[in-house]
Structure formats: structure tokens, C-alpha cells
């Protein structure tokens, strides 16, 4: 069997590797930096203010198939209060304001972590995993006619509509909706074509 594109990121070291690009999607003041903390990983910060959003991605180098790829991510919201957090997944554009993505919406204003997919319109589904500030393992798999969303080893949601059709790249974003900035922490990211 031919080897396919495969990517692993540990988010451990002095700074974010240069093959990631950071971008302020909305507002200002966001950043991505290594967290000086046990199991700290990368800290993606939205910037403080209202409706700020910051993402890291591959600068639109889209090497992963919308019909045959897997994304695995271990991440958490680094907050426990009721403002937004962010998400992890794969997207055609650098954040969730574009079309074509799958991601887990890991946002403190929700009761449950949501599974999201989109081509021209988005489909948001609650998983059974209650939103919290703990690390979870997230696995999203794009198949030819479905998208599967797994959290901590258990399949949570399967979408058969609103599936992405364009090539994808990993992304991690933080998003706030108040004057308090939001952080997403991530200690692992893996993506590969199947």
C-alpha cells in the first residue's frame, strides 16, 4: 500500500514550529506560544476584547482529503467560566469563517462539546461529552460519504450531510465573546490521509 501524507505535532519545545502559521481571524491581540506548564503544550490565545479569534494552521497548504483523512488532537479549553473557548479540526480556510471543515467546538458556553461539519452550510451536533476544562482526545475522520467524530475513544457523532468537499489542513483556534480572552491548549495533533 502506498504511503500517504502523515503529520505529527507534539507541541513541545521553546516555540511554535515555523511550519505553522498564526493568524488573527477577528479582532486583535491574539497569539500562539508554548505554555510553560506541565502538559502545557501550545497555548492559542484569542486576544482580549470582544469577539476576538486567533488560529494556527498551515497557511492554506491543504494536503488532507475531505473524503479520506483523519485528524487527532488532544486539547482543552484553559478556562472554566462561561465564555467561548475554541476548537480543533481540519479546514479548507484558516478558520471557521470559511466553508469546508470538520471540527470539534470546544466552547464553554455550550453544555456539550459539539461536532461540526460544513460544505456550504454548517451542521452542529451535540456530543454526549460535557464541556469542561480537561484534556480530551478528539478524532475526526472524513470518509467518502460521512464524517465521524470520536472523543476519548468513543464514537459520538456521524454526519452524512453537510460534509466538506475541498482539501483540508489542520487548525486550532481560540475564540472569545466577552472582554476576557480565551485560551485553547493543545498537546498533540496528528493528521493523515487514509
Amino acid at each position: 500500500m502506498a504511503y500517504k501524507q502523515h503529520f505529527i505535532e507534539w507541541f513541545s519545545g521553546k516555540q511554535l514550529p515555523s511550519y505553522w502559521t498564526g493568524a488573527q481571524v477577528a479582532g486583535s491581540g491574539g497569539s500562539a506560544s508554548m505554555a510553560d506548564a506541565i502538559d502545557g503544550g501550545i497555548n492559542v490565545n484569542s486576544g482580549s476584547g470582544s469577539n476576538n479569534s486567533y488560529a494556527i494552521y498551515f497557511n492554506n497548504k491543504r494536503q488532507y482529503s475531505a473524503t479520506g483523512s483523519v485528524m487527532i488532537n488532544v486539547s482543552k479549553i484553559n478556562v472554566s467560566t462561561n465564555y467561548r473557548g475554541g476548537g480543533v479540526g481540519m479546514s479548507n480556510v484558516h478558520a471557521t469563517n470559511g466553508n469546508n471543515y470538520i471540527y470539534f467546538q470546544n466552547t464553554a458556553s455550550n453544555t456539550y462539546i459539539k461536532a461540526v461539519s460544513r460544505s456550504t452550510s454548517g451542521l452542529f451536533s451535540d456530543t454526549s461529552v460535557t464541556q469542561d476544562a480537561n484534556y480530551h482526545s478528539f478524532k475526526g475522520e472524513c470518509k467518502s460519504s460521512s464524517a465521524e467524530f470520536t472523543i476519548d475513544g468513543g464514537l459520538q457523532v456521524t454526519h452524512t450531510t453537510n460534509l466538506p468537499t475541498l482539501a483540508l489542513q489542520p487548525f486550532i483556534y481560540a475564540d472569545d465573546s466577552s472582554s476576557v480572552s480565551a485560551d485553547m491548549r493543545c498537546i498533540y495533533c496528528e493528521a493523515y490521509n487514509t
Binding site: 519545545g13 511554535l16 505554555a35 506548564a37
Partner: protein, 210 residues
């Protein structure tokens, strides 16, 4: 077998912890990941142009004990109460060298305040495990004499002990003066006794929380 590296490293349903794997192979050191902290004079960390060379760690030829760390610039993501550090070491021919590698809380002095480090070279007669708990540092020798033979070593910390294994065999168990503060991976070299270039090679480093 699963295609996922993650699934090979973590049991189904468990959430993985911080980990880093470095193979020290390429045209230059990954300076996004690694920081060179010079302690005395100038040392270098560069890929070796040799089979199985990995990273060549060298002092300059001057006196005054040139020494330096390769570190994460004090970004400390590893838990001294639950960690594993696996690496390789091949000492150069010159015995007048100090080698330390493992985890430590800082890279600003020859002995980090909190550390758990494999020690070799002329710092010791036998490969050893050195630990420090923030104030007191002690060292326990193995029964393996220092030499230029490449070896794999493994340090495991679980909160009650730090265990050094050499080539897969448990050699030292320390239960006192163990580190408690968050740590980073460290590779250290120090020229000792003579004015000449001293070296050691490392071709693999893995560190993870347990």
C-alpha cells in the same frame, strides 16, 4: 495495525499527555524546538556528518571549562513526579568531558535547581544518576564504567523514585533528593581539565509525562 501514531502510543479511551520525540536528523538543529544556552564560552550543537551520528555536541578548544545546555529555553512541560526520558549517548574519545542529560527545571547553571540527569564522562567513574530536589543534589553510580561505547539510557520518575536504566537494564534507583518542580529536557556538555574540543553524540531523545 492502526495507521494512527496516537493510537499506537495510547490505549483506547485514554487521553495522551505531553510528549516530544527528537531524532536529530537533518541539515540543522531544529531551533524552533531547541535553545542553546551557553554557560561558559561557546559550545556547538549540530548534526553530525557520519553514519548514526545524530547530533554532535562539542565544546570549543579553550580552557576555563566551556559548557552549555541544549534546552527548551525554560519552557517546562514535564512532570518530575511522572515522566520518562529516553535517549542515547556516545562519548567522544577525549575523557576530559562532563556529560549530563535528562530533565531539569532551568538551564542557567551547571546544576539545575531541580533535576534528574544521567551523568557520564569525567564527572564520574561510572555512569550515574544525579538528582536535585531544589536544594540538595546527590548522585548514585551504576556499575557500568564510563567509556566511548554508545548506550541507551532511560530515566523514569514516579514521585517516589527515579530509576536509571542503561541498555535496558535497571542500574540505579534513587529515592532521595528527587526533583519536584516542572522540568524541560536538557542535554549538557562541559570541557574539563584540558584545553581541547570535547564531544559527545546523541541521536534520539524522547520525553513524556506518565
Amino acid at each position: 495495525m492502526t495507521d494512527s501514531i496516537y493510537d499506537q502510543l495510547n490505549a483506547n479511551g485514554t487521553v495522551g499527555k505531553q510528549r516530544v520525540v527528537e531524532t536529530f536528523s537533518g541539515d540543522s538543529l531544529d531551533t524552533d524546538r531547541w535553545h542553546t544556552q551557553q554557560i561558559v564560552a561557546t559550545c556547538t550543537f549540530a548534526p553530525a556528518d557520519s553514519v548514526d551520528g545524530g547530533l554532535l555536541i562539542s565544546t570549543d578548544a579553550g580552557g576555563g571549562s566551556p559548557s552549555a545546555y541544549l534546552s527548551f529555553n525554560d519552557v517546562c512541560q514535564y512532570n518530575p513526579l511522572g515522566f520518562r526520558f529516553i535517549s542515547t549517548c556516545k562519548k567522544g574519545a577525549d575523557n576530559n568531558v562532563g556529560i549530563k542529560a535528562g530533565i531539569g527545571s532551568d538551564d542557567s547553571s551547571a546544576t539545575p535547581a531541580h533535576n534528574s540527569l544521567m551523568t557520564a564522562g569525567s564527572l564520574v567513574s561510572y555512569r550515574a544518576l544525579a538528582t536535585k530536589d531544589g536544594s540538595t543534589g546527590t548522585q548514585t553510580n551504576s556499575d557500568v564504567a564510563v567509556s566511548s561505547t554508545e548506550f541507551v539510557y532511560d530515566i523514569v520518575g514516579n514521585g517516589s523514585s527515579n530509576i536509571l536504566s542503561l541498555d535496558g537494564v535497571t542500574k540505579v534507583t534513587k529515592t532521595t533528593n528527587l526533583p519536584t518542580a516542572k522540568c524541560q529536557p536538557l542535554l549538557y556538555i562541559q570541557s574539563r581539565s584540558t584545553s581541547a574540543v570535547k564531544t559527545w553524540n546523541c541521536k534520539y531523545m524522547e520525553c513524556y509525562n506518565t
